[in-house]
Amino acid sequence: MSASVDIRSVSKSFGDVHALDGVSLAIAPGETLALLGHNGAGKTTLFRILLGFIEPNSGEALIDGLKAGCRQARRLISYLPENVAFPKTLTGREVVAFYAQLKGAAASEANAALEQVGLGEAASRRCGTYSKGMRQRLGLAQAIVGNPRILLLDEPTSGLDPLSRNDFYQLIAGLAEQGTSVLLSSHGLSELEARASRVAILRQGHLVADGPLAMLQRDARLPIRIRVKTKPADAETLHREFGGRRINGASVEVTCEPDEKMAILAALHQRPGAIADIEVIPPSLDEVYRHYSRANPDKEARS
C-alpha cells in the first residue's frame, strides 16, 4: 500500500502575516521532497496543516485523498517536529515503544527502529543522558516506528554531524524504496547534497521553485566565476582588459554567464605570460539556494 500527499493552493495567514500563499505541491508514493526556505518561510506551517493541527484559510490538503488531520489520514502519517524534548527519565526504548503503541503497533517494534537509527546500544539508557544528535535520532526512530506510509520531518538533520547526516539520508532512501513518501524540510541546498529526488523552495509563503535539483541549478542561470592568478606586474593590465574585480593584489576575478565561459577562457589563453593559474568556480548549491530565496523584484512583480 502506498500513499501520497496533495496540497492544493493552500493559503494560511496569522493576523497580517501571510505564512503560506497559494502553495500547491504533490508528493507521489516513494518520492522524497525536500522543502527549503529561510526562517519564517512557512515550512512548519505547511507541516501543521498536513497534520490537521491548523486549518488553511483557503485551499485544501489531502493525505491519500483524505482530509488532512482525520483519523484515517493520521494512521498513514508520522511526524518529527523541529523542537521536541522527550521526558528525560524515560529510556530511548520506552519513548519509542510509547509512540509505537499510540500508532497501534507493537511495543516490540521499538527495537528495530532504534537499531535503524543507530541507537541500539543506547536504547536502555535514559534519554536525558543523550547528546543532541542522539536526541534527534531518537525523534527519527519515533517517526519511523510503526511503518508509516508518509513521513513528515521538520528539519530532521539539524544537530547531526556529517556522518550521521549521511546515515540519515541513506535510511530515508531505503524507506523511499519501499514506497514511503517523505517530506523533509531543511535550511540549505548544500546540506541536501543532491540526495532528495525533488526540491521545493518557499519564500515568504510563496512556492518559488519545485523540481529536481539539476533543473533548479540550470534555471537559476547563475554567473560562473573565473579566478585568474596573475604574475605580480600584470594584474593591473588584465583587470583593465577583462574587467571583474581585483583580489589581494595578484588575482582578478571575472564573472560571466554560463555561455560566455568558453570565450573568456579562450581569450585568457592568449596571455600565457601574464597568468600563473586559472580557477573556474561554478555556482555553489548555496548560491543557487540564495538565488531562489532572496527577495527577487522580478518574481515579486509577476506573482
Binding site: 501543521r48 497534520l51 493541527f53 491548523i54 483519523r71 493520521r74 494512521r75 502519517i77 508520522s78 511526524y79 517536529p81 523542537n83 521536541v84 524534548a85 522527550f86 521526558p87 527519565t89 524515560l90 520506552e94 510509547f98 509512540y99 503503541q101 499510540l102 500508532k103 497501534g104 511495543a107 519515533q142
Partner: protein, 276 residues
Amino acid sequence: MSPVMAIARTEARLGIRNSWVLLSTVILTVFAVLLVLLGSGATGEVDASLLAVSIASLSTLSVYLIPLIALLLSFDAIAGEIDRGTLQLVLATPIARWQLLVGKFLGHLAVLTIAIVISSGIAAILAIALDGNPGPQPLGGLAALAATSILLGAVFIAVGYIASASVRQTGTAAALAVGIWLGAVVLYDLALLGGLLASGEGVFARTIFPWLLLLNPADAFRLYNMSATDTALVQTGLGAVSGSPLAQGAWVLASPLAWTLAAISVAVVLLGRVRP
C-alpha cells in the same frame, strides 16, 4: 496494549521516576504519623479509639493536602506537553484527544492512589501499635477515608487538566492551579462561614448553606468522613449541617463523582481547541 493504557502506564512510570510518588507518599505519611502521635497524647481525655480520633484530624488535613497534590500532578499535563513539543507528536498519531486525557487521568490517579494507600497503611499500623486493636469500625473508617481521598484527588486531577488545557504556558497553568486550590479549599469555606455568620439562623443557614457545602467536592468529602466516623470532634460551622439529612450517607459522594466527570468532559472540550 491499548493507547489509553499505554499513556496511563507511561504517566505512572514518569510519576515514579520523577519522584512524584515518593514525594507525595512522604508528605502524606509524615502528616499522618504526626497526627496519630498527636492523637495518642490526647486519647486519655476522649472516649474514642486512637484510630477514630486520628481519622477525624486526618480527614481535615486531607481536605487541604490531597487537592494540592492532585493539582500539582496534573497542572502540567497539557501545557507542559505543549511546551516540550511532545503534544504535537501525540496528536499526530491516530489517537483521539479524549483518549489522551483519560490515559493521563488513570496514570495520575494511580500515582496518587499509591501515595494514599501507603500513608494510610502506615498510619493504621502505627495506631494499632500504640493503642492495640481498634476493632473493625475505625479500620473501616480509615479505608473509607483512603477511598474518598482518592475520589477527592480524582476531582482535582481532572480540574487541573482544565487549567492545563486552557493556557499554553506551564507557568500560567501553575498559577491557575494554585488559584483553584485557594478558591476551592480556603476561600470558598471562608465565604460560606461569612454567610453563615451574617444570616444567623435565617433561610441561608437552613436551606442554601447545606447545598453550597455539597457543591464543593472538598466540603462534601469532609462531610462524608465526619458523619462516617461519627466523632464528636466537629468544631467548625460544618457541625451545623452534619445532622441534616443532606449530609447522611454515601450519596454525599455524588458531588465529587459528578465533578470528576464534568471536569474531564470540560478538559476534553478544551483540549479539542488546542492547536499544538
